[in-house]
């Protein structure tokens, strides 16, 4: 009898538990809300569009050209504004850089270019080491960039310039954070090595600088940008480059219009070889046009 009661009790208990599990009518709508809330909290989505483009004015941003895309870039700098009306405030003459960038993987890109200034060829590799994430993921994006430039300008034979002398190396670490949907800030410590100082004096063959890049969006497609490189030492007669510009993003195209005191458009010339100053109106109007072409295969 005792055993029977126990068994019965067990059955009743079991039944009751089963009933408790099944009898609850789960409201799927509420279930969805709670799982979504939990997922949002733990979300680790990469932050997109810290900057609209892979350059802000001359400086590299943390952005990487999308995998399978080719970015055709035309950079243009007119002559200084202070040349006055005869030179149409600098519009009569210009220097430019034509470049092709390629997105190889989600985090790796390479690029080549040709600049008027010193008839330079340049190339670079850029690799994203860390991507800022939403939620409590990575707080920063970090990209490494290394570039090389070759000065092809014909030089006085008595200078005995070798091809190694014509080569300049630059490496930058780009550290950025998108603080809000509209505001992004980047710090880029950079190091440049000149095999030989040509047409500059003073300074050193090893030059350091820190870049500060700021972007403030004013609408969905337009942002106001600032870029400044602080050099630890300068070549004689050279200044720190300061640029202020506007990005207009039309999807596929990015137009960048700016005023800058630097003539060079690749790493070393923009950072260390800026002869103009804002103070005496030695500022140039310039623009970059970026056009993305899709050359890669289908994304799987």
């Amino acid at each position: 009898m005792m055993i029977f009661t126990k068994r019965l009790l067990a059955i009743v208990c079991l039944t009751l538990t089963t009933q408790m599990i099944f009898a609850q009518q789960v409201d799927l709508f509420k279930m969805q809300d709670s799982t979504n809330a939990a997922d949002n909290k733990n979300g680790h989505e990469p932050v997109l569009n810290t900057f609209y483009s892979t350059r802000l004015v001359n400086g590299h941003t943390v952005e990487i050209t999308g995998k399978g895309s080719m970015d055709f870039r035309i950079n243009h700098r007119f002559s200084p504004l202070n040349l006055g009306f005869y030179e149409m405030f600098g519009l009569d003459a210009a220097s430019m850089r034509l470049g092709f960038d390629f997105g190889l993987t989600d985090n790796l890109m390479v690029g080549i270019g040709r600049t008027t200034y010193f008839k330079e060829y340049d190339g670079f590799i850029k690799y994203r080491l860390m991507h800022q994430k939403t939620g409590n993921g990575a707080p920063l994006s970090i990209t490494w960039e290394g570039s090389w430039a070759y000065r092809n300008l014909k030089m006085d034979p008595t200078l005995k310039v070798t091809s190694s002398d014509r080569t300049v190396w630059t490496t930058q670490l780009l550290i950025a954070r998108k603080f809000s949907n509209n505001f992004s800030f980047q710090v880029s410590p950079s190091f440049t090595h000149y095999n030989r100082r040509l047409f500059v004096s003073g300074g050193s063959t090893d030059m350091f600088a820190v870049g500060f890049l700021v972007r403030q969006k004013v609408s969905k497609r337009i942002s106001i940008n600032g870029e400044y490189f602080l050099q630890t030492q300068r070549f004689n007669g050279m200044h720190d480059p300061l640029s202020i510009g506007v990005d207009i993003n039309t999807g596929g195209h990015v137009f960048q219009l700016h005023f800058t005191n630097s003539q060079g458009m690749n790493d070393h010339s923009a950072i260390h070889e800026t002869s103009g100053t804002w103070g005496n109106g030695d500022v140039r109007w310039g623009f970059n046009v970026s056009r993305i072409f899709n050359i890669g295969g289908k994304r799987k």
Partner: protein, 174 residues
């Protein structure tokens, strides 16, 4: 006493069975988003969370960033300019099967189902009714549906891209 107890037990069992609610769920449902006039504009999201209960409730949830495009730049544009996924990270649907009496989740077969509910996209919630198919195979349902949404309804200015978008849903539940 014995009779009474067994009566209680059987009643409890009976209620339990009547109340038993079956929920089918998946975390890798598929939703395709495509522009009808440009075959390049096609995006697939393979990480859709969805649940169906045999009481007719049905939910879908997906991350806008989960849509993969053929071209990386297009995907960026879609997230940043089009659906503003930073501000509105999710697409969401909560609906009910309106012809539940024609769908039998415990019997294999293909059933035409009409679902109506609230679709939330880009922060805007809109009532939609969708016709689809629920195919029960080995006790597990597979859902497929096709419908068109007008982006303007969801406050998305898409004149330059696609004003109407075809959405295809395909989910295999466990």
């Amino acid at each position: 006493m014995k009779l009474f107890l067994s009566l209680v037990i059987s009643t409890v069992f009976f209620i339990a069975n009547a109340d038993a609610q079956k929920i089918f769920a998946t975390r890798n449902g598929k939703v395709t988003f495509s522009a009808p006039n440009d075959e390049d504009v096609t995006a697939v999201n393979n990480e859709v969370t969805s649940r169906i209960a045999d009481n007719g409730q049905m939910t879908f949830s997906l991350l806008i960033k989960g849509f993969k495009f053929k071209y990386a730049e297009m995907q960026d544009h879609f997230n940043d300019q089009y659906l503003e996924s930073t501000k509105f990270p999710r697409g969401d649907f909560k609906g009910t099967i309106t012809n539940l009496n024609e769908v039998n989740f415990s019997k294999d077969g293909a059933y035409k189902a009409t679902v109506s509910g609230d679709l939330t996209l880009h922060g805007v919630t809109k009532k939609v009714t969708v016709n689809g198919t629920i195919e029960v195979k080995g006790g597990k349902p597979v859902l497929t549906a096709k419908f068109t949404i007008v982006m303007n309804d969801f406050n998305v200015s898409a004149k330059a891209v696609a004003e109407k978008v075809n959405v295809e849903v395909s989910c295999q539940y466990q």
